[in-house]
């Protein structure tokens, strides 16, 4: 056994390694790029899944975008609300501005409601169907129901039910991947607390809509009259809810003759007056748009349950916190 046989390899490889080490160490000083310390902090807080769910090329790119103000602090679908709070602390932004958003498919023309123009037998892809006269449904604004968004969703949060895509709001992380692939542009991101939604994108006149779909917006404007908060904007023969004004009173959904406006009435709340706290100031009854609160000055107020629609206005206005929403 010749000792030299071992010494040379060890020396040469070790030498090479040390040489490269020195070069790299020198290079890392020489070519150091100044990084915003906040970027590093944000990067450390991220889950490092590098999933691209935020729409950026990995966590590094997202951290950069957050620090440069190009991405919202709640932009990471994996970290969710907890991460948004953490990033809010780092960035000095309050996280409550970050209400959870979910995607919603703006169409309710399922196979029972919408008519078919022809029988589609092509490949199962909305974009392909869109190329054939705008899909098989007679409404060219409606969901083709072939599930391109379902394939795009990394969280299994969207499914085609009876010919229309429906979002599972619990699973939805607002990653916007479905929005990007939908050829009809009928998926929108909305705050999850806003219950009421107009489920139609058809901009045609009432008669044309009625011919193609039973549940399309026929531009009757009854919802505009029903809304006491000016939250419904009417444009291009279509009602649109201004969510900065909507208070979930669901009056528009009640008024809509075609049931295009959807609201889950089971979630409707009612106001209740807590007698111990009420001082009879009448602020609540003055603010009620529905005349649902009665009671004299200095007397205890009472909510008329059949008139109350749960808009929560009295709850906000009561100076004594004497109103509860249940």
């Amino acid at each position: 056994m010749n000792l030299v046989n071992i010494v040379w390899p060890v020396l040469s490889l070790g030498g090479l390694a040390i040489f490269f080490g020195i070069v790299l160490a020198y290079a890392s000083k020489k070519f150091a790029v100044e990084v915003n310390p906040k970027t590093a902090e944000v990067r450390d807080a991220l889950p490092s899944a590098n999933c691209g769910g935020c729409g950026f090329a990995g966590c590094d790119a997202f951290a950069d975008a957050v620090v440069n103000g190009k991405a919202a602090i709640n932009g990471c679908p994996v970290g969710g609300a907890a991460l948004a709070v953490k990033l809010g602390e780092i960035m000095g932004v309050s996280a409550d501005a970050a209400e959870k958003h979910v995607a919603r498919v703006i169409c309710c023309g399922d196979s029972n409601n919408a008519n078919e123009k022809y029988e589609y037998q092509g490949i199962t892809d909305c974009k392909a169907a869109e190329a054939l006269a705008g899909g098989s449904k007679s409404c060219r604004y409606g969901c083709t129901g072939l599930g391109t968004c379902v394939k795009a969703c990394p969280f299994d949060a969207i499914h085609v039910v009876n010919g229309v895509a429906v979002v599972d709001e619990e699973k939805c992380t607002a990653c916007k991947k479905c929005i990007a692939v939908c050829p009809k542009n009928i998926i929108e991101l909305v705050p999850i607390s806003k219950e009421v939604r107009v489920l139609c994108k058809n901009q045609e006149k009432g008669k044309a809509v009625m011919e193609s779909c039973k549940v399309g917006c026929i531009a009757c404007q009854k919802c505009v009259k029903a809304c006491k908060f000016d939250a419904i904007v009417f444009e291009n023969n279509l009602a649109r809810i201004d969510y900065s004004k909507c208070v979930n009173c669901m009056m528009c959904a009640e008024a809509c003759p075609t049931k295009t406006i959807y609201a889950n009435f089971a979630n409707r709340k009612k106001a209740f007056v807590v007698d111990d706290k009420c001082i009879g100031c009448t602020i609540c009854s003055k603010n009620c748009n529905f005349e649902a609160i009665e009671g004299e000055l200095k007397g205890k107020h009472k909510v008329l349950e059949d008139k109350c629609v749960g808009c929560g206005r009295c709850y906000e206005k009561c100076p004594k916190d004497a109103i509860e929403m249940r």
Partner: protein
């Protein structure tokens, strides 16, 4: 003429991915979109060319004089890993745009066996420095050809009605093997 022959041979006849089955990991991993595939192959071509020259120098001036050619593999891995790190730093400093474009792919190349493969093949074929450079860049081009073509195929597969059991990776594997068979047709091109 000899150089042209080397180039043609490495790109078509002995294609790194499709005939020698080197670099299969990025070939399957980064070939979902033509755009990212192009980015990856650009980075690979660059590193392959550079690594070929560097490893040839190390082999000729360190390993052969000391008579320790059997340390080739480990020495080359060392060189390639160090080189990639160095290149990444330099690019990050000098050209942020190029760094953005190559970004994630550069570190990935450290573990790409096609790079090590080209270095070892250069030595085995007794190439001189120029031939080594041509073979290295050619190797990168062969990787580019394979992965970009394959990415095109996979983009089409996305919208094709594939049987449920074969969706995603399985059908990509089948496509890759058909690809490989097609490249077998080049075998007789150069004797």
């Amino acid at each position: 003429m000899n150089l042209l022959l080397i180039l043609l041979s490495v790109v078509l006849v002995n294609n790194f991915v499709l005939s020698r089955f080197l670099g299969i990991c990025p070939f399957l991993g980064v070939s979902k979109k033509v755009e990212t595939a192009t980015g990856m192959s650009l980075a690979v071509t660059f590193v392959m060319g550079l690594a070929s020259v560097m490893t040839w120098l190390v082999n000729t001036f360190v390993l052969i004089p000391l008579d320790i050619e059997y340390m080739q593999t480990i020495a080359f891995i060392l060189v390639i890993a160090g080189l990639v790190q160095f290149v990444e730093m330099v690019i990050k400093k000098t050209s942020p745009t190029l760094y953005q474009a190559l970004g994630v792919y550069l570190p990935l190349i450290t573990t790409n066996c096609a790079v090590l493969g080209v270095a070892i093949l250069n030595i085995q074929s007794n190439f001189n420095l120029i031939e080594t450079l041509v073979n290295g860049v050619g190797g990168g081009l062969s990787f580019t050809l394979a992965i970009v073509l394959f990415a095109g195929v996979r983009e089409r597969l996305e919208t094709s009605p594939v049987p449920k059991a074969l969706e995603g990776f399985p059908v990509a594997m089948i496509a890759a093997s058909l690809f490989s068979i097609a490249f077998l047709g080049f075998q007789g091109l150069i004797k």
